[in-house]
Symmetry: C2
Subunit: 317 residues, 2 copies
Amino acid sequence: MNVNLNDIRNFLLEHDNFLILMHQNPDGDTTGSGFGLYYGLKSIGKNARVLCSDDIPDIYKFLNKEYQETDFIEQFVISVDIGSENLFGDGLEKYKGGVDLNIDHHFSNENFAKYNYVDATSASTTQIIYEVLDKMDIDLSIIMGRCLYTGICTDTGCFRYRNTTSKTHMIASKLLELDFDHSEIVYNLMESKSLQKLELEKHIINNMKFYFDGIVGIAYITQDMIEKSGASQYEVDGFSSFVRQIKGVEIGVTIKEKTKTFCKVSIRTSGNYDASMICSMFGGGGHKNAAGCIFNTSVEDALSELLERIKKIIDGV
Amino acid sequence: MNVNLNDIRNFLLEHDNFLILMHQNPDGDTTGSGFGLYYGLKSIGKNARVLCSDDIPDIYKFLNKEYQETDFIEQFVISVDIGSENLFGDGLEKYKGGVDLNIDHHFSNENFAKYNYVDATSASTTQIIYEVLDKMDIDLSIIMGRCLYTGICTDTGCFRYRNTTSKTHMIASKLLELDFDHSEIVYNLMESKSLQKLELEKHIINNMKFYFDGIVGIAYITQDMIEKSGASQYEVDGFSSFVRQIKGVEIGVTIKEKTKTFCKVSIRTSGNYDASMICSMFGGGGHKNAAGCIFNTSVEDALSELLERIKKIIDGV
């Protein structure tokens, strides 16, 4: 059933021993939501634990340095920022069908829990966690502030994307009343890049292609380019918006070669082009301006299939 | 004399026919402040005009499309975002010594006007203009919102820099209650780049140099690189933070060749390194983490002079 913020407050106040699940390949929003909620619950004397199928990437480690693994027997399971049980990952298989409370901001959320709270107007799930903690009259600590700010920053591109609302800034305003260095978080999350990433960037720029009077821009990232540059897997993931930034490009396609017969495609659009519609033609999905799909083909074949479909969309067929 | 926000409100309400000056080489903050104040004054029936020594760059043109040049005889002169009369530019020479009200956020402001309001805790001058309009109970229009948001965005790197405060986000929250597409402003101001700029970026990456275990990164932009890439002068100016973004670089130096015997240097620092202190050794200045200076030498000679000084700072001499 669907619940509201008051229901969540009551659920959390009346129970104890919460296991908080994050999605696989954890990003700043699921990590910030998981630990933000954990610290909030701990601050009022509740027992909690945070669990993720994958390791937390180093750049988010500052969010869990106050985290304590203690003896714990879970009684209630909460998922944060997880749109579907398919995103639990192998390590969390056993919780499929067993989530009590599902807190998320993805429009496509599958309401898989006993109690579901999905607010798709929220820029991030941490924005919802802020509202939950606020509703519970929990005093925010610095570490909670860092967690919630990190999720907002991750999912809004640091207040740049269209999902940023008046409420997002209002919450950021409250968070910055706490004494932490937001600028350092932004720098570590978004601005800092290694020489290897810069090298990869050079390869990507050198190999970009443009079609249909420059409306469509295509960037490739091949295994060969990754090896030559020495960039890490995490760094490779940061290029989805790169080609769309070029003036005139309204459909930016990034094709990442995983093997010679498997590649991942990210599409970013502006204007009225619908990225999720394009990706859904290939079994993928996402949001209007940001979506993804996969191809069990070579990069070249993925490109020609994509161009064929995109041409029809541009031609209005 | 120094005045407060109430004094400014009274000054504006009690007088009329305001000429608003912006600084030379106008950026988003002086432009947003000038037009933001202009639209605010017009909305309560005052006469005003905005003046700048240089043309407003195309990317800020959306801020003045409702601007009307009408018959106007100036009675009072206001400067916005101008730290010193030296920044008036040739076209505004005649106003030196003649400014009535100076509204600014630069710490180094020279208080050159009859009435001065300098709030160095403000992230942007538009943040102050918001407070002025709010103090005057002026209802914000969409175009005013665009102006004020543009200034904040420009001077905070879209809420990334350390000067962004809780108040900055609170004001952004109020502005986003107005119905304008903030995301498009950000995209046009900061994200969109031409193929020519991308080409220049490639040349810069190829020629970067690192010193002192990578703590110091140097980027050059020569006239030859600019010509080869076809980038515009405006695009050339956007690289000051580029080299500092590389992991490990705490002092990022960008040397722009203007002629064979004249170059402009921008320094961006993190941590405890003081950019303004380094630049002041060469007759320049700025803020702790962002400063500039000029050299009447070749790029090579500027580099060796800079490295010599920076070495002493790193060595703690």
